[in-house]
Symmetry: C3
Subunit: 311 residues, 3 copies
């Protein structure tokens, strides 16, 4: 992590262009509201114009279109939000945990750990598991036997990777468990949120490709594939054997049923249940619009009547 | 915790009024169905009248309106359910775990722990974290660095407080992580359910005010604020930067999108997705009414047609 | 676990009938796609006919109706999926964890453990808890005091059994906690998924009957009863005091409200919110059908208008 930097030094490292005093020294990032003269902030749209006008930040990042909206020292960049992310990375590490294996972690003898991995207290890494270079497991992550995580992973506390998939067969009213003998293969640059669960495959593997980003409390069923560069928000459930493409985004609490396919570049809105394959890129939504309770009561009654009539 | 008490001793401590024999001795609380002569139970409404008639409880708590519905010894109170809660607190502790730090907990040197805190096995408390007096962390709670919990907190097993918020910026098809440098500030008298997750702020803090009650498996996104005395049921997801008022209730599995505001005294029904700000107190609902599958098929088809026509 | 077996040896153990060469030797199960000559696979329906045609498996399990669809050595069974499950159990154990108590588990002195239990690292078993014979707790399971698990249970990592139910009473704008003094009673042959939570009862117990199968990240509220042989998929939420029958199935992310009753042999579709009792066996659904976003916008607007008109 760097010490304080001038705007000139920042653009030398990250590109972009300075408008105003390039010698302006900044020590840390901050929000427009909380920034003071030592901070650099960012501005991404007219919604925040009044905050930009009121900010006491030492400098801001914005795009060329917004350049004239402030007289503060500023860095002009094509994608101010991504630029700001990189500036923050200059001042702050990506993870807080030091490399090394905490003595209160339990690592199986046959597990293979890459260089500079960081494994927090309470983690459990099973037999034959593999963790790539520069990966971080925060406290209490469980990696079941024979599951593989690539390089530069960040896995947050409480995540469980490789528990048995939900494989049961009905037989005369009782359930027969199907041993879950597949594994989990996770690519490079993947982030996995707190208390998220990724099940091992029933027979073949569950696959999470490179640069997939998973928020907290997501459930990924067995034999699912999630394509590279797909980002999934919190509380999403993905049933078994879903095949999700690359560069998709899935909003919070959406639910993806099993044995279906979603092509690349699909965006699914929060709270939407996907019940069949999506073969065309685009944005898909299925949310019951909320309303005051009394209005909802009427609309819902109407909907139920539709189900009865001609029934 | 008290030993057996007479009804007279109970009203001396908690107020209310005895009808019938004030010397009736009770040893513990119980449900109307399971109670025997040593137990005190409670009655809150006509729905349970047959259970009241059949109960073998030694005494009951009820309100003045219901007073004549039984001849059992009874305590008459304005709010029988809250009164019953207090009676139960006379006989039972709020937490089962003894004060002290279990040797299988991992506490960072710079963490500050208040008086009489109880920290269970497997807990991890990060650098600079703060826990107020009389707070209990059940087993396997993780408190990330620099997160703050007030006094008298009860945090259940598996909760994760202060994991990184889901902050990523897209840049030419790849994701850039935004370091999450804010913290989590939790007030006094807060309860947090098992496996609930509360993310640290991206830049500023995530804030949970006093007397907030969170059930299990709730996800609270970064920079959210939850106002004092708000109660949230299980499986709720709250996306980033939501600003939720005081004295709200949110039903199970509801989903609150990010960057919106909910004023004080709002009730959100279970399973409802809140997609825009709510600026007026009241009850809000958005649930697809379930039905027999065949009826649902018809109504859903009609709804889809509505989307197509005039499209 | 067995070594390689001939088809003849398999039908001797499990029933069914061989068609083709009964001396065909198989070493392991595999999917139709990935199988080679050492593997036995299964075929359950016309949807997979092209995979059956292309497979390089040494043998397959199928039913009499499909018997002529391949010339491969095959086992003909009434329920090929359940048969396949049993074949997999011949080659693979149900759990990977050895019997015994890992030294990094924390077991209260008064807990009672059955024969051959397996308790992984990081597990916490509270005072007075009971675990039946041949049960497995994977890493980091928490069993709160006085909770009971039967025989042959499989509990996956991160599950929390017996945390306090969400019992609070409002009193002049503040919340009074109701001590949760009930327990959790879990029958035999129950499987519980990763990070699933089952709350202890408020006064009486929460009850999970024999052969119930729970997937990951399910929340079971206090005083719920789940009848024997019921299977529940991931991310389901069940509010307090629900009474769910035997032989039910509940799809992923469904939500069951509290204080209601669901009779035996009810199937609830994924994503459906059950808001009232279901007293008749059958399949019940309530899903907002997703669509392209622009179509959804129109249909949702129409639905909202229904709420306003005649309002």
């Amino acid at each position: 992590m760097a010490g304080p930097l001038t705007l000139g030094e920042i653009v030398q490292r990250l590109g972009g262009r300075v408008a105003g005093n390039a010698d302006t020294l900044v020590h840390q990032v901050a929000s427009l509201e909380r920034a003071d003269a030592r901070h650099i902030s960012f501005f991404t749209g007219s919604r925040y114009r009044s905050k930009l006008a009121a900010t006491r930040a030492g400098a801001v990042v914005l795009d060329a279109q917004a350049e004239s909206e402030t007289t503060l020292p500023r860095i002009v960049a094509e994608n101010p939000y991504a630029y700001f992310a990189r500036v923050s990375q200059l001042f702050n590490g990506l993870v807080e945990q030091e490399p090394g294996i905490h003595p209160a972690a339990v690592i199986a003898k046959s597990a293979k750990l890459g260089a500079r991995v960081s494994i927090g207290p309470g983690c459990v890494v099973g037999e034959g598991a593999v963790i790539g270079d520069d990966s971080t497991l925060y406290p209490r992550v469980v990696l079941y036997p024979r599951c593989i995580i690539g390089a530069r992973a960040i896995v947050h506390a409480g995540a469980v990777i490789g528990a048995d998939g939900f494989g049961i067969a009905e037989d005369e009213g009782r359930w027969i468990k199907i041993p879950q003998i597949g594994g989990v293969r996770i690519g490079d640059d993947v982030e996995i949120g707190a208390n998220t669960t990724i099940d091992r495959g029933a027979i073949d593997d569950t696959v999470i490709e490179d640069d997939v980003k998973l928020d907290n409390q997501i459930q990924v069923g067995h034999n699912t594939r999630i394509g590279a560069h797909t980002a999934i928000a919190g509380c999403v459930g993905i049933a078994g054997s879903a095949d999700i493409g690359r560069h998709c985004t899935i909003g919070g609490a959406a639910m993806i049923l099993g044995h279906l396919r979603i092509v690349d570049h699909v965006n699914i809105s929060a709270g939407t249940l996907i019940s069949r394959s999506i073969l065309k890129p685009g944005t898909y939504t299925g949310i019951y619009p909320f309303d005051e309770h009394s209005s909802w009561t009427r609309a819902a009654a109407d909907l139920r009547r539709k189900g009865k009539k001609n029934g």
